[in-house]
Each structure stands twice: as structure tokens, then as C-alpha cells.
């Protein structure tokens, strides 16, 4: 039986302790007309639970996983809150999650598309997995992957237009990848190791720490 799905990359706990998530003081900004897209899927939105990467322009973008044209990108953080976004239709700023793609705000910074995020390197994160193989259908096989790395995969959801990030177990390896597998999630939502949406705990291995 499939395990109940949970969207995106969720903060399980903070590595340094503390019980509240620490939104990074600097909000993530998205370029005017920025349109997030999933390679091999289509245009999507971006919102709470989605990974972002920083660009040389100072803007941010959806962080591709292994499905990306350039493979998995270094992860800057995970979106926790969407700030009000410009709506040309309504002629005003509107609050919504997720943020819509292709919103043109030009040079008017009071209409700029922004989001709040928690830095990827400060948290232990929970993710549902993409499990397309029989290599992961026992607890022992998952435990053997503890300490290995893996990329996430954006599993484009055409119905909701969400990027739908999940950990791709086909990418588990000892070479560098976006995430380090730490353990199976102890959530009671993890009922069936053979079912879809099994949940694991990860930390960020390819954190975007270098200057850009």
C-alpha cells in the first residue's frame, strides 16, 4: 500500500538545536517574468517546500534535481513562506502559495516576487522518495543507504503545476550529490516500505556555499 504523500522538502529539525525554523534574513528574490520549469515536464509554480538555488544575478530559481539539463544544482534553501506577489489581473499584490510563474514586475521593486526560506544546511529535512527499483523495498536496504548521497528529482505534477521534489533513490551513490541520506523517517506515516511515498531524513550535501 502507498504511504500518504507529503509535498516537498519538509524541515524535520534544526541541526544546531532550537524548536523554531529560522527563516534566513535575506529573502529569496525571483527575476521579473521568471518562469520556473521542470526539465522534461513543463512550466510550474514555486512555493513552500520547493528547493531554490542562487543565481549570479542575485536572483533565485527553482533548484533542478537530477532531471535538470545540468543535473542537480547546489541547494541554497527551502521555501517556507511566499511573500505577496504582483497580480496584473487584479491590479494589486496578492497573497498566495505557490508563487505563479511568468509574473512581470519590470523594475518596480514594490511588485518584486519574493519568498522566505530556511537555509538548506541548517536543517534535517524529510522527503518522500521516488523509488523505481526493487533495490529499496526492505528496511535493511534503506539502512544500507544511510550515509550515502542522492539527488532530488522534480516529479512534475501537471495537475497542480507543482515541481514536486522527491528524493531519487536511483541516484544513491557515494559520489557528490545534493543530499546526504541520514535515516528512515520515524513518522508513523511510513507504514509500508514497499509502497510509494516512503519518507527519509536527509541533510544537504551540495549546499550552495560558494560565492556566485
Amino acid at each position: 500500500m502507498d504511504n500518504a504523500a507529503r509535498y516537498g522538502i519538509r524541515l524535520h529539525s534544526l541541526i544546531g538545536g532550537g524548536s523554531m525554523p529560522k527563516n534566513f534574513p535575506n529573502s529569496a528574490k525571483f527575476a521579473s517574468a521568471y518562469q520556473p520549469a521542470v526539465n522534461g515536464g513543463g512550466n510550474c509554480t514555486i512555493g513552500i517546500g520547493d528547493p531554490i538555488t542562487g543565481l549570479a544575478s542575485g536572483m533565485c530559481a527553482l533548484a533542478d534535481g537530477v532531471e535538470g539539463a545540468g543535473g542537480g544544482l547546489a541547494v541554497k534553501g527551502i521555501i517556507t513562506e511566499c511573500l505577496p506577489q504582483w497580480s496584473a489581473t487584479e491590479g494589486t499584490m496578492v497573497m498566495r502559495n505557490p508563487i505563479q510563474g511568468g509574473i512581470v514586475y519590470g523594475t518596480n521593486l514594490s511588485r518584486q516576487t519574493q519568498a522566505l526560506y530556511v537555509r538548506a544546511d541548517v536543517g534535517v529535512w524529510e522527503m518522500d522518495v521516488v523509488n523505481a527499483s526493487t533495490s529499496f523495498d526492505t528496511i535493511a536496504e534503506y539502512q544500507a543507504a544511510d550515509g550515502a548521497n542522492a539527488d532530488h528529482r522534480l516529479v512534475y505534477d501537471s495537475a497542480t503545476l507543482r515541481a514536486n521534489p522527491k528524493l531519487d533513490l536511483a541516484t544513491v551513490a557515494t559520489t557528490a550529490a545534493q543530499w546526504r541520506i541520514q535515516d528512515i523517517s520515524r513518522s508513523s506515516l511510513n507504514m509500508d516500505v514497499t509502497g510509494a511515498n516512503f519518507k527519509v531524513l536527509v541533510t544537504c550535501f551540495e549546499f550552495q556555499s560558494a560565492a556566485i
Partner: protein, 303 residues
């Protein structure tokens, strides 16, 4: 992830007619596990149950001969270690201040609902794992239902059907026969009675028909009685969280000290705030252990 305002962006203005959510009150009455697990409390971090076996039988003594020596032996130690389960929901002060539909941020009730549901699911794991050697009991090294349950004086007995079959009068009769011949802890036949059937809800109709029909018409005897209905006083509990099988089921017998839920700490709520961030948290914790100290309390059918 914390509840910030845009997680519930549609609740920031009064525009809604109905909030559609799961039920948040009166959930204790809907729990399934109290119908098939004995509820106990724990007073320590762990508790041990010990199996002890007496000599079972006397021996014929010839004239002038010394009495035979009997034996008392220690059997399996069943250990219950309380595990802690916990969950918190965090919310920003802005989300609390701006939300116009307080039922959508009823964090304490939502936490309680999650904990009660967890208790039901974790209890059901004892059934879902009843046939898996991966989840053998530490004392017996056997799962709850096994063909090789150890006996204190040596040897084993089976509380697992060797000819598993779906719900039928014959299947129940076979189970009754097996349970009637269960050995006591002393290793000789003690015999127990079937008391209850537990199954995934997929079998609910089949069991209701079997348990509710007075007769079991067969060729040449349309009036043959349904023994299960007329001669056995079997309860039936469909288990909705039993999801790893549609065909397995387990009988419970009248042997004491069987499946049990030992509560170390009832679900306990806590709240705290982080004023520096303007964040509030509602937490809930509970501690419990589940298990069984008596393989004779069940008869498993991996059909």
C-alpha cells in the same frame, strides 16, 4: 513546516462559507485498538513479563519407590520498553493574528488527532508484523504468529495455521481444534477457546456473513447449522489500519496476557513561544509500548 500566512492564504479575509477538514473532536471513541488490545499503564521505563513453567504431570510411583522429581523452569522474558512519540506545529504570530477562521489553525486539536491516530496505527503494526521474522520478539526470536514458538521445557508449538484458508466454517473449525490443543507453559495440552477475529477491513463482509448466518446449507442437508454462529461466541473486529495484507487474519483466544497497549504517559500537550522570532509552538508527546506476552493468545492465518 511552520504555518506562515500564505500556507493558509485563503483564510486571511472573511470570504469562506465552509471549512472542510477531518473531525477533530470525540476521536477517542473511534479508536479501534481498545477493542482488541488490553489497555494497561506503565510505571517504569521498561517492564518485564516472565514466563514460568511447572512440571505438568505426576508419575506413577511403585510400592516403596521414591517420588519422581518435578521441575520448574523459567521461560521467555517479554520486555516492554516505552517509546516516545511527539509532534509539534509551529505558527507565526502574524498567521495567528491575521487568520479569520480559527478552526483552520486549531493546532492543539490537530496535534491530538495526529497522536490518537498514531496510537491506532502503531498498535496495528503488531498485527501487520505478526507473520514477519524481521519483527520477531526479542525473547522468543519468533514473530507473534509462528510455527516454532518456544516452550520452557524444550520443544516448540505452533500458533500459525499450517493450512491457511479464507473465512469459512471449516477454517474456523480447524482453528478451534488447533487452539483447543495448545500446550500450556508446562508443555502439555492446556487448551483455550477462540474469542475474537481480527482482520483487515477487506474481509469484513465475509466475516459478517460467516458469523451472522444461522445455517450452512449443504447438499442433502439444507438445515445444517453454522457452528461458527450457533456454537461459538466469536467477536469480530475489522482493523482499518491493517493495510499490508487483504487476506491475513488472526484469532484471539481467551489466554490471558496477550496483545496489550501499555501507556507510560498519556498524550500531553505543551505550548511555548519564541518571542525573538514571533513564533508559537503547540507540542504533544506520549509514551507507550505495545506487545504480547502470550503466543497462546493468538492463532494466525497467513492466507
Amino acid at each position: 513546516m511552520s504555518v506562515f500566512r500564505t500556507r493558509l492564504w485563503a483564510t486571511l479575509k472573511q470570504t469562506l462559507d465552509t471549512i472542510i477538514d477531518d473531525k477533530l473532536d470525540g476521536l477517542e471513541a473511534e479508536l479501534v485498538y481498545p477493542k482488541w488490545m488490553e489497555k494497561k499503564t506503565m510505571s517504569d521505563a521498561y517492564e518485564d513479563d516472565l514466563e514460568v513453567a511447572g512440571p505438568a504431570m505426576a508419575a506413577e510411583k511403585l510400592e516403596g519407590q521414591e517420588m519422581a522429581e518435578g521441575e520448574i523452569v523459567q521461560g521467555v522474558m517479554f520486555k516492554y520498553i516505552a517509546l516516545t512519540y511527539a509532534l509539534k506545529l509551529t505558527i507565526s504570530s502574524e498567521a495567528m493574528e491575521d487568520n479569520k477562521y480559527k478552526e483552520t489553525i486549531a493546532l492543539a486539536k490537530m496535534n491530538k488527532r495526529a497522536m490518537l491516530k498514531t496510537m491506532d496505527v502503531e498498535a496495528t503494526l503488531r498485527l501487520m508484523r505478526a507473520f514477519s521474522a524481521t519483527y520477531a520478539y526479542s525473547g522468543t526470536n519468533q514473530p507473534l504468529c509462528s510455527a516454532s514458538q518456544p516452550l520452557p521445557h524444550g520443544g516448540t508449538f505452533s500458533n500459525l495455521s499450517g493450512a491457511p484458508a479464507a473465512a469459512s466454517m471449516l477454517a474456523v473449525s480447524a482453528a478451534r481444534t488447533a487452539v483447543r490443543k495448545y500446550p500450556g507453559h508446562d508443555g502439555s495440552i492446556q487448551g483455550y477457546n477462540l474469542k475474537r477475529v481480527l482482520s483487515p477491513v477487506d474481509q469484513e463482509t465475509a466475516w459478517q456473513v460467516l458469523l451472522g448466518s444461522s445455517f450452512n446449507p449443504v447438499t442433502n442437508n439444507f438445515a445444517e447449522i453454522n457452528v461458527v454462529n450457533q456454537k461459538m461466541d466469536l467477536e469480530y473486529v475489522p482493523i482499518k489500519h491493517w493495510t499490508n495484507s487483504t487476506t491475513n487474519y488472526i484469532y484471539q483466544t481467551d489466554a490471558p496476557n496477550g496483545l496489550q497497549f501499555r501507556t507510560r504517559k498519556k498524550p500531553t500537550a505543551s505550548t511555548w513561544v519564541e518571542n525573538g522570532q514571533g513564533m508559537a509552538a503547540h507540542g504533544i508527546t506520549a509514551r507507550w509500548a505495545t506487545g504480547s506476552s502470550e503466543p497462546r493468545s493468538v492463532y494466525g492465518v497467513a492466507a
